[in-house]
């Protein structure tokens, strides 16, 4: 469970970092291709979302405020899935998902499948939180509190 938590954290850290290291306009172009947000909200999301992915991913890896980090990641994944589903339903001509910025990209059905798997894993981690918390900063504090 701990390894799964760290693995999911790494996925989000890589995804956020890839987007943050390139110009935000590239991610903005991908957001615009999903035709969900209007100006200037698309720009706001293009700038903020990669930071959310990076920070929630780091928090999940470190096990810092783990329940909140995992809930945040679940919310992000749910939003990604909803956006991809509407793009598939509307047959939008999107060639790449933009999931990993300049690093790696998948067609929409593959993206939906991978997001669904990720969603199930995150939901499972939240349900089994006491086992997820090993090797975490949260656990360190819990132990300290118990010793006191």
């Amino acid at each position: 469970m701990v390894l799964v938590r760290i693995w999911i954290g790494i996925i989000f850290v890589l995804s956020g970092t890839q987007k943050l290291l390139g110009p935000y306009q590239n991610f903005l172009y991908i957001i615009q291709s999903y035709q969900v947000l209007s100006r200037p909200w698309d720009t706001v999301v293009a700038i903020i979302l990669p930071w959310g992915e990076l920070l929630l991913g780091i928090f999940a890896i470190l096990g810092l405020w783990t329940p909140w980090a995992l809930r945040g990641l679940l919310l992000l994944t749910t939003v990604f899935m909803a956006v991809v589903v509407q793009a598939i339903v509307r047959s939008l001509p999107i060639q790449e998902c933009g999931c990993f910025g300049e690093g790696l990209s998948f067609p929409l059905p593959t993206t939906l499948l991978l997001d669904s798997v990720l969603w199930i894993y995150i939901a499972f981690l939240i349900i089994r939180l006491e086992r997820t918390n090993g090797f975490s900063i949260d656990r360190y504090y819990l132990k300290r509190d118990a010793q006191k």
């Binding site: 970092t17 943050l20 290291l21 390139g22 110009p23 306009q25 590239n26 903005l28 172009y29 615009q32 100006r39 930071w51 990076l54 920070l55 780091i58 928090f59 470190l62 810092l64 405020w65 060639q95 300049e102 900063i137 360190y140 504090y141 300290r144 509190d145």
Partner: protein
């Protein structure tokens, strides 16, 4: 960082907030440090692209475009810019750089080679216009050369010179150089424009950016 985390952890559990803050600040520092180290060259005009430039070099609006002839959004952008240059010839200057996306577009490199060879005979804009105008005719073909040859003949290129140019490795080198230069500036997809150095991706964003620009100029 590790030292800081250990120090903070050794104090009151309430200091989790400080750890979280330290993590956030650390991430911001790393990302901006990496971006700074990576750097980005300013977009400047070059003599090599002169045959692929048009408009007034002293114009207040300078556009550098990275394009792929097989990309539909590039075609839309090109027609939009053609109209703009017709309506405001003194206010706009533009240059084209190649950014063939061979992974997605089968004829991206080949069409760019034809355009570059046309540029060497001073006919870049004629060929570029026809490549975009007839894009739907050739983009799905297995061999698009017959259409490209028809286009180059229709603008009266010297076909012997064209054949020599197409076979010349230096032609490909020019395309690769443009693409590498674009990548170093963060270009990833087409069409990507630098409007007075500001990066704009996609023809819709270009239209919005230019509306903003001319709105600002009016006021």
């Amino acid at each position: 960082m590790k030292y800081f985390l250990c120090q903070t952890m050794g104090q009151d559990p309430k200091n989790k907030k400080f750890i979280a803050l330290a993590v956030v600040l650390f991430c911001i520092a790393v990302i901006y440090g990496l971006k700074l180290a990576k750097g980005s060259d300013p977009v400047s005009s070059g003599s090599a692209t002169l045959p692929r430039a048009k408009g007034n070099p002293q114009a207040p609006l300078k556009i550098v475009e990275y394009m792929d002839f097989q990309c539909p959004a590039c075609a839309r952008g090109a027609f939009f810019l053609d109209d703009l240059l017709k309506n405001k010839p003194d206010e706009v200057y533009m240059e084209v750089r190649y950014f063939p996306l061979e992974g997605n577009h089968r004829h991206a490199l080949r069409s760019a080679r034809y355009a570059e060879c046309a540029a060497q005979q001073g006919k870049f804009w004629d060929v570029a216009h026809l490549l975009f105008k007839r894009q739907s005719e050739w983009k799905d073909l297995i061999n698009a050369d017959p259409v490209f040859e028809e286009i180059t003949k229709s603008v009266q290129l010297d076909m012997n010179k064209l054949d020599v140019c197409l076979a010349n490795e230096a032609t490909t080198d020019a395309l690769v150089k443009d693409k590498q230069e674009g990548q170093s500036r963060g270009v990833r997809s087409t069409p990507t424009y630098f409007v007075n150095e500001k990066m704009v991706v996609g023809s819709n964003s270009l239209e919005e950016e230019l509306m903003d620009f001319f709105g600002r100029v009016k006021h």
